[in-house]
């Protein structure tokens, strides 16, 4: 994903597709519906048809095809001729939005973010509710200057179901004595949903606001638990704002791996034996190249045996929660999640760990729907459980 001003769709982006069909073998939506229309190859062909006039007047239905994609990018990873399908589709979604063809749920999402600066139209102060039922108020709350800013992200901050991720993460930070701050009401949506849904201007405003808020803390490091915020901060902020951020952007897994390896966090040795598999979030693994840090963390936890799913790392299978597919076709999104959770059970694991609030939620729901005895955890949760306190 590069949502900079220079990212314009070019002819070469889709002419590169030679229609070999290799992407069909890996695409989560195609593999479920077995309908070519739901394949990366068809989405690129459709885009080309719109560009070349074979399809003269795109309709809502045309646009819907581009939004029935998880943007997981496994097709891009697989494509031997170098079509960056996920990027091409993000740009195409933007074009559809400019034609007034943004699907209603996503138009409403954009509207909410523009007005409330978060994805669920909550008042800004709600961003700290997660901090209220901890033993004590986290030291990072209300701090104006800090070495590290923890960017909580909308889902972790505002969805009670996901509160335990920021809760676990800050408790680890506290335990390790990290000088950190959270922005609370001053944190806005990172802008990623706006950018992929065609409102680059609002995305840029959000980016500018967040950047200034973080600079004001003097932080040298920004850390996120959300892989999408991470990816957007790391790649799209500098490109879209055309400047150096002036601080380092890290994902929680990278940060935690350092805390463990430098001894600032130490782990108990009385932990039970457990078989764990790790689910690579698309935005963290395939799109940002962070594969090893989470695995190093898991291998470091006493009693953990780490096993891999058949599709892992670059070739990992999406959790079903990507690309806003959930709001377009919830049944398809759930079916993708069900397939992934079955891959996890095939490893014989008792726990599947991810490093993304969205993956954690979709996989948890899938495990429940499939009636599987498989626990689903975020990596911050499993580290906190294992931490010597």
């Amino acid at each position: 994903m590069t949502t900079g001003p220079q990212s314009i769709l070019s002819e070469d982006d889709y002419l590169r597709c030679i229609r070999c069909g290799q992407c069909l073998a890996v695409c989560p939506t195609y593999r479920l519906t077995l309908n070519e229309t739901d394949s990366p190859r068809a989405r690129v062909a459709l885009l080309r048809a719109v560009r070349e006039g074979l399809l003269e007047r795109p309709t809502d239905w045309t646009a819907a095809q581009f939004f029935r994609c998880l943007l997981c990018g496994v097709c891009t990873f697989t494509c031997p001729s170098g079509v960056t399908v996920d990027r091409v589709l993000e740009l195409t979604r933007g074009e559809m939005a400019h034609l007034g063809l943004l699907p209603q749920p996503l138009a409403a999402l954009n509207q909410r973010i523009r007005e409330s600066h978060n994805i669920s139209a909550e008042p800004p102060e709600s961003r700290l509710f997660w901090a209220q039922n901890l033993p004590g108020m986290p030291t990072g709350v209300g701090k104006r200057q800090a070495e590290v800013v923890y960017f909580v992200g909308c889902v972790g901050a505002l969805f009670p179901r996901s509160y335990s991720i920021p809760q676990s993460f800050v408790q680890i930070l506290e335990g390790a004595g990290v000088d950190y701050a959270v922005l609370g009401a001053e944190e806005w949506c990172c802008g990623y949903p706006l950018a992929i849904n065609g409102d680059l201007e609002a995305a840029r405003a959000a980016m500018r606001h967040n950047l200034e808020a973080i600079r004001a803390t003097g932080a040298r490091t920004l850390v996120t638990t959300c892989p999408s915020c991470f990816h957007f901060w790391k790649h799209s902020y500098p490109a879209a704002l055309e400047e150096d951020l002036g601080f380092e952007v890290r994902h929680a897994t990278e940060f935690l791996a350092d805390l463990l390896e430098s001894g600032r966090v130490s782990l108990r040795d009385d932990l039970p034996q457990q078989i764990v598999t790790y689910h690579d979030p698309c935005d963290l693994g395939r799109k940002s190249g962070v594969f090893e840090a989470p695995r190093r963390i898991l291998r470091a936890i006493p009693g953990v045996t780490l096993v891999e799913m058949a599709e892992n790392q670059g070739g990992s299978h999406c959790c079903g929660g990507g690309g806003n597919l959930e709001s377009m076709d919830p049944a398809l999104s759930q079916a993708v999640a069900a397939r992934r959770i079955r891959q996890a059970t095939e490893t014989g694991a008792q726990v599947v760990v991810s490093a993304c609030q969205q993956c954690e939620r979709t996989l948890f729901n899938a495990a429940r729907a499939e009636r599987l005895r498989l626990r689903v955890k975020d990596i911050a949760e499993i580290v906190l459980e294992a931490m010597r306190r």
Partner: protein, 459 residues
């Protein structure tokens, strides 16, 4: 289109969700693995032989073309619906119906993905050898309809060698069963063979009974680098003359190597003219190892600069991933490619390669050469930009000349991709008038209305 009476009939029989008529869906079903494209009027997604038969009966009643397709990875435009009509997708018929471990057969629906079948039988220590490079994105039905090959054909034979019986929906909607589990069967004409490689022109293959063999327990794979392409092509025959039948013997020229390297960054050498990938396999680890030693020696004697034997499954998988990516990775060099599929007697490989290189030099467009050199099957790919009419004109001339090379040297137009529409103009020259006449009679006898994939294969 949606107001046509026959489309309403399709909806009545299949239900609305299996009949796709939107322009978006029709675009999705308008192409295959070539640059050809034509919209069907409708795409259908039947889920049983009976549903396929019902579709074909309606097509016959209304004289509408039916174009069967699997995952549309074909390289001859055989599944592109040039006359419109019904794009009939078999992808949802993807059940493995019966594994018979005693008779070593498996019965599958046409839409089973070849690699899925292979994984399924290999988990039970059995083996389905045909391995088209598209095995992860092509179906058994498509493989049979095009009699697909692959690297392992050198030792194990092509798809057709593993088909023991078929269920076929005929152009009038009747359901034909051919063959069976008995190994020997000489009763009547061999109708199974008739449908193998028929590219959907005689009927719709909906199920297949396939032969399995024991899974080879031991495999060794080597990569040999040759500073000279000519040396590499001579090595192919020297290896075979040494009494060894490798499972595969694959050749890639320098452009192919460069394209893979650009796509995959494997550290392949960019200063050699060719590489061979050679694999030996069998039930006895020691014998396989000895064979590989002979292969290494023969390669070095014929001018190989380096022979690297894969040390583990990961290295081996990487070599094959590289080989399977050659064809698509060529898109990095030029917007379009025309991938040919000629075969020659293997003694003629060095000469065929020399002549193809000469064609490339004379017309000034690059031709990449790779392929299954061990069985004489080469894939010369002409790289070009279709937007430039002068280049396209040259490409057509060059393709004709490449076919000329194959025929002059005692070979033919296609080893595994099939004819589709792209090779139709050369059919008569390759097969002669008598053969073409007989084939026309067969087509007319089975499909008098000419609704079954019309305009394909026969000139």
């Amino acid at each position: 289109m949606s107001d046509s009476a026959w489309i309403d009939r399709l909806r009545e029989i299949l239900g609305p969700t299996k009949v796709l008529t939107s322009i978006e869906d029709r675009i999705a079903y308008s192409y295959d693995g070539t640059f050809a494209q034509q919209l069907p009027d409708v795409a259908v997604l039947p889920e049983s032989t009976e549903e396929v038969a019902a579709v074909v009966r309606i097509a016959a009643e209304y004289r509408v073309p039916v174009v069967p397709r699997g995952m549309a990875s074909g390289l001859a435009a055989a599944s592109v619906p040039f006359s419109g009509g019904i794009a009939l997708s078999l992808t949802r018929m993807n059940r493995i119906l019966e594994l018979d471990e005693v008779n070593r057969t498996v019965r599958v629906e046409a839409g089973v993905i070849t690699a899925d079948l292979q994984a399924y039988v290999e988990a039970r220590d059995l083996f389905y050898p045909p391995d088209p490079s598209s095995n992860k994105h092509s179906t058994i039905g498509g493989n049979i309809a095009c009699n697909a090959g692959g690297p392992r054909c050198l030792k194990y034979g092509v798809t057709g060698d593993y088909v023991m019986g078929l269920t076929v929906v005929l152009p009038d909607g009747r359901i034909l069963q051919t063959g069976g589990k008995a190994i020997k069967n000489v009763v009547g004409y061999d109708l199974t063979s008739l449908f193998i490689g028929s590219e959907g022109t005689l009927g719709v293959i909906t199920e297949a009974l396939l032969k399995l063999i024991a899974r080879p327990r031991s495999v060794r794979t080597a990569l040999a680098e040759f500073p000279s392409l000519d040396d590499a092509s001579r090595t192919v025959n020297s290896v075979l003359a040494a009494g060894i039948v490798p499972a595969t013997l694959e050749l890639m020229d320098e452009t192919a190597i460069a394209c893979i390297e650009a796509a995959m960054h494997l550290g392949l050498p960019l200063d050699v003219e060719a590489m061979l990938i050679i694999e030996t396999d069998g039930s006895d680890d020691e014998a396989v190892r000895r064979e590989m030693e002979v292969v290494e020696r023969v390669c070095r004697e014929n001018g190989a600069r380096k022979v690297m034997v894969a040390q583990d499954e990961k290295e081996r998988a990487q070599l094959w991933r590289a080989r399977r990516s050659v064809s698509p990775s060529l898109a990095r060099k030029a917007p379009n490619k025309l991938g040919e599929d000629i075969t020659v007697p293997r003694s003629a490989i060095p000469e065929a390669i020399r002549r193809i290189k000469e064609i490339s030099a004379r017309h000034g467009l690059p031709i990449v050469i790779f392929g299954h050199a061990g069985d004489g099957n080469l894939h010369p790919n002409i790289l070009f930009d279709k937007r430039d009419p002068a280049q396209w004109e040259k490409v057509e001339v060059m393709a004709g000349e490449i076919f000329g090379v194959a025929l002059d040297l005692g070979g033919t137009l296609s080893g595994e991709h099939g004819v589709g529409v792209l090779k139709r103009p050369y059919m008569e020259r390759a097969m002669g008038p008598v053969s073409i006449d007989i084939q026309r009679c067969i087509k007319e006898a089975l499909d008098p209305l000419n609704i079954m994939n019309p305009g394909k294969v026969l000139p």
